[in-house]
Amino acid sequence: MPQPQDMVGMNPRNPEQNFIFFELEIDSLVRILPGGHCYLKLKLSKSQSDEPILSVEVRNPEADIVSHQIPITIVLSKYWNTYARPTIKLRKMCISMPPPKSIARFIHAFRNMNARVVKFTASVSGDLRISTKIDHGEIDASFSDLQTNPSETDSQEETANVQLMIRNIQSLFQSFAHTRSRVKMNIISNRMAEFNIHNEDCVLSFIVGNVSD
């Protein structure tokens, strides 16, 4: 029985790894999607010149279907490891955060004050502190009675903290500022954290780290 083939090349595909990895310019999709569409269809296809594309069909309630073609690059299986989710060996603390809108306004204010780094300090008792140092002083905000889940952590410590670059998380919280998403923060180390944003029907995992001094 013939085995499933790669879209490019002729490498036999393991049925348990029947994936297609591809890359595209995010801006291309961002430009198409907003606009109150009631219909969306995505299809991997080939253009007339035999180039791989993502075909995007959208429709507004009172309009015809509009088709767009976004060029994509197929990623060969030997590079798939590059896209593997980082292994998170240890979670020092897991805490539910205040609404994204709240966090977004602090991050925005810190950015306006020319702060580069924000520090999150969480405790098992549900306290969260967001702080930053600026040229002319320091700011911190305290929240309490937040939900923690000690069973999801691998550490016995009462508190944990993480420092992150503000520019790396600002767009994340701004993007969800006007949604009803719930955010959970897992502190992995003092320089790495995972934010899980829970929406009605999906979860976004955002792993961020590498604070540059």
Partner: protein, 267 residues
């Protein structure tokens, strides 16, 4: 951050509704640093650019729900723009901010409490206040004084031709004219003294002076907040704009802008 400790302070005050204070500060923060002067009767916040313009915000002690100043005169240089950003963090009106200062150029400490239980603390470094620019505005030698409503004037100021470097003000007992010369040509806007916008006009001589448009634009946030303006020009052409901001319950704050005229060499 030990705002809550029993440490003796030389100045402490509390303001309900942080937004009101943030809005006042917004009108004067055209530079990163400013001076804060605390007196028994209230606060003065001064920002100047070192040469052409100075803005002063006057906040009466009644503006605050609690106000204590324990020294005759406190003068501090503070990162006023950063403090404004800090005061802009809370949303809504159900919040308050406490200020405290222990003296000897300790940091100015602020504590904001929001209705949802969130507490925000700020600590801002203070230093010796710079020498204040003295425009020597002579109140006794003012040929022109107008009391105006800001409603139409704020749109006039906002809509000045951006391609014009200066605005010429021609002031007389019958009319105020604002003229610009830009890429589209010459534009003149006039407010006659019989206009409903003009509550009173006193003019002992007709005067004409020009001011840099960029300096006049700094007043736009004050126009947005104020209901009335006293516009005066002294004998040297220094423009004084005093904005009156009504907070209700007979509480009024004042913002004053002093602006130096352009000279022939500037033009």
């Amino acid at each position: 951050m030990e705002l809550e400790t029993g440490q003796v302070t030389v100045m402490e005050m509390k303001k309900e509704n942080v937004k009101e204070l943030a809005q006042i500060l917004k009108t004067v923060v055209f530079k990163d640093f400013g001076m804060l002067y605390a007196f028994e009767t209230g606060l003065k916040i001064t920002v100047d650019d070192g040469a052409f313009q100075q803005a002063n915000a006057f906040l009466n002690s009644a503006f605050f729900s609690d106000y204590k100043v324990r020294e005759d005169r406190i003068a501090l240089k503070l990162p006023i723009k950063t403090i404004y950003e800090f005061l802009s963090i809370p949303e809504g009106n159900s919040n308050s901010v406490k200020f405290s200062y222990s003296g000897m150029f300790d940091p100015l400490k602020l504590l904001i409490e929001e209705s949802d239980g969130c507490v925000i603390r700020g600590k801002f470094n203070s230093s010796i206040a710079d020498q204040e620019l003295d425009f020597e505005f002579d109140d006794s030698a003012v040929p022109v004084t107008y009391l105006l409503k800001t409603q139409v004037l704020k749109e006039i100021f906002r809509d000045f031709d951006d391609t014009s470097r200066t605005v010429k003000m021609s002031l007389s007992s019958s009319v105020i004219c604002f003229s610009t010369v830009g890429e589209v040509g010459e534009t003149t806007v006039s407010i006659p003294s019989r206009s409903l916008q003009m509550e009173s006009a006193k003019c002992t001589e007709e005067v004409e002076h020009s001011y840099q448009l960029s300096l006049l634009h700094r007043m736009n946030p004050a126009f947005a907040l104020a209901s009335k303006l006293i516009l005066r020009v002294d004998e040297r052409g220094v423009l004084s704009c005093q904005f009156s901001i009504d907070h209700g319950d007979c509480r009024t704050s004042y913002i004053e802008f002093l602006t130096v005229p352009t000279t022939e060499t500037d033009e």
